[in-house]
């Protein structure tokens, strides 16, 4: 094999799965919250697990559930998932040194498991000289399996406890996003104006009576555009 040989072995997948165990601990409470909120929005356990298995992207699931209506908002939920998960698009390209060597199901199946954590772990593994692309799949599958367990437990808990509407526990969803924002913040110079614009546009759209997901979409896209414009002007 040449120096650039990339492999795809069971051993690599198992190494990825083992490396993901500490991450499982971190994502478990998030999964519980998604399960509880899913129950409160009237989704059955089967529907909740189907969403978690097929979408497998926590923040987009939680956000879509927060915007949930009866009947289910097919267009709104899909658009919310598209915008929230757009950040995953460049990650596959960044892992090209591995992915370009894969074909068929190995390539398109592995991509189906791509999440922020498996990308970050695999990028680090790549920098260390790792050549086994199954590592990415291993991390992803481990997170996926425990994601289903956590969301399922949350749903069962929510169904048993039967919280009344407006219970403080439902603040957990908003609290999760507030907490996620903390490590995303990279400083006043980069983030203050874009974030302020995103908040202002979302609030204006919401006050104007626009339904979900439009305040979210308008706020997110205007804020990110301002951020990009400011950064490119400085460069």
């Amino acid at each position: 094999m040449s120096g650039s040989g990339v492999s795809f072995t069971l051993n690599g997948a198992l190494r990825g799965a083992r490396a993901a165990i500490p991450l499982v601990v971190g994502t478990f409470p998030f999964g519980i919250v998604v399960g509880v909120i899913s129950d409160s929005k009237g989704l059955s356990l089967l529907e909740t697990l189907a969403m978690s298995a097929l979408v497998f992207a926590g923040s987009s699931q939680l956000l879509a559930l927060e915007l949930w209506t009866e009947p289910a908002p097919v267009l709104g939920a899909s658009l919310a998932a598209l915008v929230v998960n757009m950040r995953l698009a460049p990650m596959g390209a960044a892992l090209a040194p591995w992915l370009d060597r894969l074909r068929g199901l190995k390539l398109w199946g592995t991509l189906a498991t791509l999440v922020d954590h498996s990308y970050a772990m695999s990028a680090a593994e790549q920098r260390r000289g790792g050549r086994d692309a199954a590592y990415l799949l291993g991390v992803g599958l481990m997170l996926w399996a425990f994601w289903l367990v956590a969301v399922g437990l949350g749903h069962v808990f929510g169904a048993v406890v039967r919280l009344p509407p407006g219970h403080p526990l439902y603040f957990a969803a908003t609290a999760t996003f507030c907490a996620i924002l903390v490590p995303v913040w990279q400083g006043v110079r980069r983030d203050l104006l874009p974030w302020a614009l995103a908040a202002a546009v979302a609030l204006l759209a919401w006050r104007a009576g626009l339904g979900a997901p439009w305040p979210l979409l308008a706020g997110a896209l205007s804020g990110a555009s301002l951020g990009a414009w400011l950064e490119l002007r400085r460069a």
Binding site: F30, S44, L82, A89, I180, L197, A202
Partner: protein
């Protein structure tokens, strides 16, 4: 154990949109270099997404929502523990609900 058609359609729509981001992003960015603006904008997207969700959600809660959110941010920044931050936020909302 129900699986309603409208819910299933919404789930499939979300799944398709998400797979498009995962796989389509790889395919597209390998085939053609995205404009620099798009590349930088994607890097900036996460913060504004969550802010744009959180701002109206907190506004519906009034002042106590913002107090609880501040408690969450402080806890996350000091402990870097997501579970602790969520628990503090829910606890703060519960306490503030008693005060009212």
């Amino acid at each position: 154990m129900t699986l309603r058609t409208d819910v299933l359609l919404a789930i499939l729509g979300m799944a398709l949109a998400t797979y498009l981001c995962r796989a389509g992003g790889y395919a597209l960015f390998r085939a053609l270099r995205p404009p620099r603006f798009v590349e930088v904008m994607l890097q900036h997207l996460p913060g504004p997404i969550f802010i744009a969700y959180v701002a109206p959600a907190l506004a519906t809660q009034g002042a106590r929502g913002f107090v609880a959110a501040a408690a969450v941010v402080v806890t996350q920044a000091t402990t870097r523990n997501l579970a602790a931050a969520i628990a503090v936020g829910v606890g703060a909302m519960w306490l503030l609900g008693l005060v009212r």
